[in-house]
């Protein structure tokens, strides 16, 4: 089967996302769920994720400002965020979340602050990359969108 240049680009982009650890296996799972009934499933889920995670991160930001010593609360928020990242396989973001929670366990506020910045950064980067990815994907067109597994 011959892939158009666009398809190859998309495949390459996806491969990079995986190789660089931005995404993990869960993302494949989402792709497998995509079907005729839900042709844009993956993009919809990703969009949902970024919307919800932004909300969660705003909560954390606020908590760090207003009640920084409440590590239990911070941990609880981050737990939620972590759970959310696992839904789309946002590996790097998830790892930063884990780190943050470790700092919470230690009661290390400074660590938490730094860690949270990392979370935010990874979150933003992933958002950008996936946005580009889906844009490219849309250019290919629905019929050709059946991405070859593994890229």
């Amino acid at each position: 089967m011959e892939y158009s240049s666009l398809q190859r680009q998309v495949a390459y982009m996806k491969k990079r996302l995986f190789d660089q650890g931005y995404l993990d296996e869960q993302f494949y799972q989402l792709e497998e769920l995509q079907d005729e009934a839900n042709p844009n499933f993956v993009e919809e889920v990703v969009t949902l994720f970024f919307r919800d995670s932004s909300r969660l991160m705003a909560n954390i930001e606020q908590a760090l400002e207003k009640c920084p010593q409440d590590f239990h609360r911070l941990d609880s928020f981050m737990h939620q965020l972590k759970g959310s990242t696992s839904s789309i396989g946002a590996l790097r973001v998830k790892n930063e979340c884990t780190q943050f929670r470790e700092y919470c366990d230690e009661g290390n506020l400074d660590g938490c602050q730094r860690s949270f910045q990392k979370v935010k950064r990874e979150h933003a980067v992933l958002k950008q990359k996936l946005k580009a990815y889906f844009q490219l994907l849309r250019q290919i067109g629905p019929t050709e969108r059946a991405t070859p597994p593994g890229g």
Partner: protein, 490 residues
């Protein structure tokens, strides 16, 4: 979300399995929904635990299984788990990103039939139907085990009239019926002697027995306690170490819960005090003693009766061959308990709950009557109430059945009956002692009578009719606190 009823299911199980998914994470909710749909299940999603509970309470028979995340904003997932297990007796699967052993253990302790780690894979969801199936099989086996045991007794007495046919009816236990339909004594004998089924006979934890158990535990010292030690101290013939071990586990759970409650705050005297009964949680073995417990939050236990009929055998003292069967018909969709007494044949149909197994001692020997009710059901309570159980003294020759329950049966589905018990202490055990003597003289009404407790209970339900001459209820209180119990049958 559309929530089709069971009647629209035409394909073979597990297609169309009705799943309720509860998760506050919208992304996961969407993914899980898609995954379950792909498994050909019927999915309803819910973002809040309270909404889920409401949905479950309203549409009781609309779901087969519940999947819930552990961390919910409005209610602890474990609490939801308990509620669902107690009120609806549906299998519940927990999910979490946290796979720590302690958490998983807690899930199992609270009655989860499985604990999935996020990210959840579709193949894990594909298999969830087994939990529904297993539960059904378990229920059937309990009832079957009961009757097989009973039949052994009957057989032993050489009663030729015994009709297996009448034992069971009801679609839910078809497979049991198939086994019995042969109605060939030899054939039945074979089945009866099948060790696998006979093994299902359980120890009945009567009031006395439990008291012995508690005494033993206290004597040994709760910290140093162990099944072997307890067993030795109790010195009850026929009791096995396993019996004690499982009872001990339940007892521990119960105490732990009590502890938490006592720390947790005041007990509100209203009807919506939470109730958790370890005996009801998921496992309705009749052999566990009923303990009344209380929780802090509100709970309602709805009576879900299913069309499983069990049979209760009576034998008339005067006529060895004569058997009478009490029956209590329980209809499925409305939690209704109808006392139906055709002539002298009464069949107790029960749903769900563990079944009382007659001990070998309770025999239809020389003119004795044995009351072997099979009761299983869930009840609706707001507030704490002991689980209704029939209990028997395993070693007494004379029949004494202790009915641990408020056996108010409801003839009409839409009646709501409230029974309030004020008990001095939990765990209180309400035991109903029926002296089943001689004749089947009429049906005496059963009314629970509370002694030693200030009780302001109003019992409006129609009583269970059973063939007993005298009924007396004793309320036995162990170490318990005052509380209000409300029972609401919806």
């Amino acid at each position: 979300m559309a929530n089709p009823s069971a009647s629209t299911r035409t394909e073979a199980f597990p297609v169309g399995l009705r799943v309720l998914v509860v998760d506050d994470d919208p992304t996961w909710l969407k993914i899980l929904e898609k995954m379950l749909r792909k498994c050909s299940y019927e999915v309803t999603t819910c973002g809040l635990a309270r909404d889920a509970l409401e949905m479950l309470r309203e549409r009781k028979d609309h779901f087969d299984i519940v999947i819930s995340d552990v961390n919910m904003p409005d209610m602890d997932g474990f609490k939801l788990l308990e509620h669902v297990g107690l009120e609806m007796d549906l299998p519940v699967i927990m999910m979490s990103i946290d796979g720590e052993t302690s958490r998983v253990m807690k899930g199992v302790q609270h009655g989860a039939c499985d604990y999935l780690l996020k990210p959840v894979r579709m193949k894990e969801l594909r298999n969830i139907w087994q939990h529904v199936y297993r539960k059904k099989m378990h229920e059937v086996k309990e009832i079957e085990g009961h009757y097989i045991n009973e039949n052994i007794q009957i057989m032993k007495n050489g009663s030729d009239d015994f009709e297996d046919r009448h034992l069971f009816s009801g679609a839910d236990i078809n497979y049991v019926r198939k086994r019995k339909d042969g109605d060939n004594q030899e054939h039945s004998d074979q089945e009866f002697s099948d060790p696998a089924t006979v093994k299902k006979a359980r120890v009945i934890w009567s009031v006395d027995l439990h008291q012995k158990f508690v005494n033993a535990v206290n004597q040994i010292g709760f910290d140093k306690v162990g099944p072997k030690k307890i067993l030795d101290l109790m010195n009850v013939p026929g009791l096995t170490r396993e019996n004690v071990a499982s009872h001990l586990q339940k007892y521990r759970l119960y105490l732990r819960r009590l502890q938490k409650q006592n720390e947790g705050g005041t007990f509100s005297g209203n009807m919506h005090s939470d109730f958790s009964c370890e005996d009801v949680t998921g496992n309705f073995d009749m052999h566990s003693s009923t303990q009344m417990q209380q929780n802090g939050a509100s709970s309602k236990y709805t009576f879900t009766a299913q069309k499983i009929q069990a049979q209760e055998m009576f034998s008339d003292a005067r006529a060895d061959d004569f058997k009478s069967i009490s029956s209590l018909q329980v209809t499925g969709s409305k939690q209704a308990l109808v006392c139906d007494i055709p002539d002298s044949q009464k069949v107790i149909s029960v749903s769900r709950l563990g079944v009382l197994l007659p001990s070998k001692d309770m025999m239809l020997g020389a003119g004795k009557k044995s009351l072997e009710p099979a009761i299983s059901r869930q009840q609706s309570w707001s507030g704490g109430i002991p689980v209704m159980q029939f209990m028997q003294y395993p070693k007494h020759d004379h029949e004494r059945c202790s009915l641990l329950e408020d056996y108010s049966c409801l003839p009409k589905p839409d009646q709501e009956h409230q029974v309030l018990y004020h008990l001095d202490t939990p765990p209180s055990v309400i035991s109903l002692t029926c002296n089943t003597e001689n004749d089947m003289s009429g049906l005496s009404e059963f009314k629970p009578v509370h002694t030693n407790h200030r009780s302001s209970h109003t019992k409006t339900a129609s009583p269970l009719s059973c063939m007993t001459d005298t009924l007396s209820v004793q309320v036995d209180s162990g170490s318990s606190n005052t509380q209000d119990y409300g029972v609401a049958f919806e």
